[in-house]
Amino acid sequence: MNYQGKMTISSHKELTKDVFEMVVEGDAAKYIKEPGQFVNIKITDDMTPYLRRPMSICDYDEHSIKMIYKVVGEGTKLMSKKQVGDQMDFLTGLGHGFIDYEAKEAIVIGGGLGVPPMYNLVKKLKEEGVKVSAVFGFGKESDMFYIKEFEALCPVYVATMDGSYGVKGTVIDAIKENNLSFDKYYACGPVPMLNALVKAYPDNGYLSFEARMGCGFGACMGCSMKVKGASYKRVCVEGPVFKSEEVIVNG
């Protein structure tokens, strides 16, 4: 179910440099059913920027959606200037998220802006009685955000590329150095991180991909990804979450 509607900003703050947390409220929130689904936002009513901006969801309930985003271009820059009370046009409930919670011991893995979608997922996994830990990768200590919020839910292990916090290296280094055991993993982050994870752990994983999208609801074929066992799948409709077994590394 996809829903188009105006959402009103109820809270908006900068967490760390260029990374913002925004909460929006409105009826369209109720169409989000799974952690890992996404929204597609028309940031202004103007013709430029022309396309919507797909955005991951950190947390949600019947009335509100919390997003954490980074200013990376023109659209997100305009978004960062929005004030409490401003409205934006949303398509919500897009894509298929993380829905398999059958695990004894799970880890959620987030790289950079792949961290936020893990928040609601950790809550779901805990509700289902799964023992869960979080492994997050950042460039450096000053890039980190939302660690305290996750620590309130589960053990958190961090890797930074420059070693300024936690394990020096990647999320895989953090998993190995902390001897984390798991029978299922859930990941979101940059494509090189996802590729490395599938190589290291080909089975029992769910990975959320991102792509440049035209529409976000399956019409334009702008985000089609080659997968095993099918000629392609659309990141926006069949994804953004894919099984590790179907991901073609560097596909």
Binding site: M47, R52, M221
Partner: protein
């Protein structure tokens, strides 16, 4: 209430609004937003004889009031389109579609047209000789009047349905191409496809689109499309379906005034999934305000100037 009904070869439509090929999938994706039976017709996703994955990602970039795409004719191949996609569509759409088709060779156009034109849901074929995003075929057929005429003639021979030829704006003289396909037996023309363009990452210097070039569409190209429809519709005696940046009822009316007998709405569908029904409603109310009873009365109204 203004009359919106229009009749074109193979397409008897309750209104002149058709979602453009490549922006509407095979139609049924939009049933989650509205009843697609409000549409005049649907130009379905470009179909080739064999399955095509298309171009590597990223396929999408943006520009002022528009977008750049290089999908590369991704489609499951004509047999899967007819047997699966059209079957799904026929359960949710009562009208006839304008089946868009492409190819990398003359033979592929012919074989695809044979299969597509036999499908009950197909009212007419839309021959894509203007796709800028495939290495072989596509636009090469649409930029040379002789090749354009040849592919039109051969497809006409095998098609049991009317054939519209979709023209590329990436030519010096679009009127020459239009006249050539008319002489070769085209039943109509649809125009314009996207304008060939590029964007670059200023840090690395690399093109944003993996295919390097893509096709530009959106409101930014609307005046270019209007000019070309204005020129072509006066030079040929077959109907023109106008497209290129239409995003409102006012735009659609302006396109018909330029000489289009019907319109296609493209990337507006991607930004606002409700674009087409909104455009249909807006057309009706604008015509009512203007005191025009029949939308057919505005077609080519600009030609007196």
């Amino acid at each position: 209430m203004a009359k919106l009904h229009v009749t074109l070869p193979g397409l008897d439509m309750k209104n002149p609004v058709i979602p453009a090929s490549g922006t509407f999938g095979f139609g049924y994706e939009f049933t989650k937003f509205y009843d697609i039976n409000v549409l005049g017709s649907i130009a379905t996703k470009g179909t080739t004889f064999t399955e095509r994955y298309g171009n590597p990602l990223p396929r999408i970039a943006e520009g002022p009031a528009g977008m750049l795409n290089a999908i590369g004719l991704q489609n499951p191949g004509v047999h899967a389109v007819v047997n699966e996609e059209f079957d799904k569509l026929s359960h949710v759409f009562n009208g006839k579609v304008l089946a868009n088709m492409g190819g990398h060779s003359l033979e592929e156009y012919i074989e695809t047209a044979k299969v597509l034109s036999q499908s009950d849901i197909v009212g007419a074929l839309e021959l894509n000789i203007s796709c800028p995003n495939v290495k072989e075929g596509g636009m090469q057929f649409g930029t040379d009047p002789e090749l354009a005429a040849k592919v039109t003639r051969e497809v006409k021979k095998v098609s049991s349905k009317p054939v519209y030829v979709k023209l590329s704006p990436n030519v010096t003289d679009i009127v020459a191409i239009a006249k050539a396909v008319e002489a070769a037996g085209a039943d109509g023309i649809s125009m314009v496809n996207t304008l060939l363009g590029m964007r670059f990452d200023i840090k690395t210097g690399a093109p944003i689109i993996k295919n390097k070039t893509g096709g530009y569409s959106g409101p930014a190209i609307f005046p270019v499309a209007l000019r070309m429809v204005y020129q072509v519709s006066q030079a040929v005696n077959i109907p023109v379906i106008g497209m290129g940046g239409i995003s409102s009822g006012k735009d659609a009316i302006e396109m018909m005034i330029a000489g289009a007998s019907a319109v296609e709405v493209g990337c507006a569908n991607l930004v606002d999934p409700y674009a087409c029904p909104k455009i249909i409603e807006e057309m009706e109310s604008i015509l009512d305000e203007m005191g025009i009873e029949d939308v057919n009365d505005i077609v080519g109204k600009s030609h007196q100037f």
